[in-house]
């Protein structure tokens, strides 16, 4: 694998990948679970984030040629290893289908009521397929152009909301004890652990020794931004945040300055679309990469479009309607994600280390 991207680019990609959906969706769920203390939830889940980065790096070091796919095959035998890889791929497809469907529904219900959802989703998937076919370099460079813009715009949204905030809403703290905060943290951890996917692009990073540093900075940055988002949303709406599906978007509707800077939700939409583009592209890329490595293809470019097609169909296969997905995310979905991206890697790591000790 040729080293093609810098660790800063890796940082940018992971940063945006996790942040995209969380800033928009998360405040509603955490308010439901943790009430007043929802803003604290990112702080505790950052620990899960750090742990996941650590495990990903360790697994990368243990893996032959740095490839996670080959690690599973070498540790558990070819057949079981390939089977595990395929299951993991299906897992990823499931997760990203949820995110894609979510994105489609958001755009359609808020902006383009008469447009069928699949048009929105197909247009996004075509763009993502294009980026993936260019390789990790193109994805990283596109990220370098857009991700700073996305972050600045997101911060601006929160800055513009400052006049409307009411800080007293967050008091009193820990009213219902620590348990609700803990539950909220678990949900947020479900987002943080997705950073495990970085393991697929670690073989391409040029500066190996700075990977861990940038990984931790990434988790810290994400936590910080989530904190800002949560606090802003809560100070604006306090507990009614749990009633809205997309609290941040609803919050952006409150922005009004000098009688002409109003109704800027479309800008918020564009920022969010850019963010989702990176998340979906990244998952698309890891699915494509792991599939081509598992099946040991030499010139895997040709399977990009079939993968896209499968993603499209999975988006609709998921669930009857959107309500079910929302329900899923808040209940068993979190545990599902944590199992796949947190518990599974830890187990693999433990088993691999034990195996190596036994051999030696």
């Amino acid at each position: 694998m040729k080293k093609k991207i810098s660790s800063f680019q890796m940082f940018l990609l992971m940063f945006q990948m996790i942040l995209s959906s969380s800033v928009l969706l998360m405040p509603s769920i955490t308010t439901m679970l943790s009430g007043k203390d929802m803003w604290m939830t990112p702080i505790f889940s950052m620990l899960v984030g750090y742990l996941t980065v650590w495990v990903a790096f360790k697994l990368y070091k243990l893996a032959p040629h740095g490839s996670f796919v080959k690690l599973l095959e070498s540790s558990f035998g070819k057949v079981i290893g390939k089977g595990m890889n395929i299951l993991f791929i299906i897992f990823q497809v499931h997760i990203i289908a949820i995110a894609t469907r979510d994105y489609g529904e958001f755009i359609v219900t808020n902006f383009y009521l008469k447009t069928p959802v699949y048009i929105i989703i197909i247009s996004m998937l075509i763009l993502c397929a294009w980026v993936v076919s260019g390789g990790i370099e193109v994805l990283a460079r596109t990220g370098q152009v857009f991700i700073p813009i996305i972050t600045i715009c997101t911060l601006f949204i929160f800055i513009f909301l400052i006049p409307e905030l009411d800080p007293s809403t967050i008091f009193p703290m820990f009213e219902k004890g620590a348990a609700p905060v803990f539950k909220g943290s678990v949900v947020v951890a479900g987002w943080f652990c997705q950073i495990f996917l970085v393991i697929y692009i670690l073989p391409y990073v040029k500066q190996e020794n700075t990977i861990q540093k940038w990984g931790y900075i990434c988790v810290t940055g994400i936590g910080l931004l989530m904190l800002i988002a949560n606090i802003t949303v809560f100070m604006l709406m306090s507990e009614s945040a749990s009633f809205y599906n997309y609290p941040v978007f609803t919050a952006a509707r409150y922005i009004a300055y000098a009688e002409f800077f109003e109704h800027v939700e479309a800008i918020v939409m564009m920022v969010w679309v850019l963010g989702e583009f990176f998340k979906i592209s990244f998952y698309y890329f890891t699915i494509y990469l792991s599939l081509s490595e598992t099946l040991e293809l030499q010139k895997p470019v040709v399977i990009i479009l079939p993968i896209g097609l499968l993603l499209l169909l999975s988006t609709f296969w998921l669930a009857k309607d959107f309500q079910m997905i929302g329900d899923f995310i808040s209940k068993s979905g979190t545990l599902y994600i944590l199992t796949g991206f947190f518990i599974f890697p830890l187990v693999i790591y433990a088993l691999t280390v034990i195996k190596q000790r036994l051999k030696a």
């Binding site: 010139k299 040709v302 079939p306 499968l310 169909l313 296969w317 997905i325 599902y336």
Partner: protein, 74 residues
């Protein structure tokens, strides 16, 4: 997704395959993978066409995690 959407999509894919015949130049193995992926997609689209509310992955996962359902409620 209704039938005409699915048919349009498959016609477009066929059209793309004809207009851009670069897929013919790949090895047998890659062509096999390509067509098996397309086959899975085809089966899935048939299933979705017949029953738009096909029980999806989500339902199965929900069933799997049902015992832990209450744990994360407020």
């Amino acid at each position: 997704m209704s039938w005409h959407t699915l048919i349009t999509i498959w016609v477009l894919i066929g059209g793309y395959g004809i207009v851009n015949p670069s897929w013919k130049k790949h090895d047998k193995k890659e062509k096999k993978v390509l067509f098996s992926l397309l086959f899975i997609a085809f089966v899935l689209s048939l299933g979705l066409g017949l029953n738009p509310n096909l029980p999806g992955l989500t339902e199965w996962v929900n069933a799997l995690y049902r015992p832990l359902h209450g744990w994360l409620s407020p």
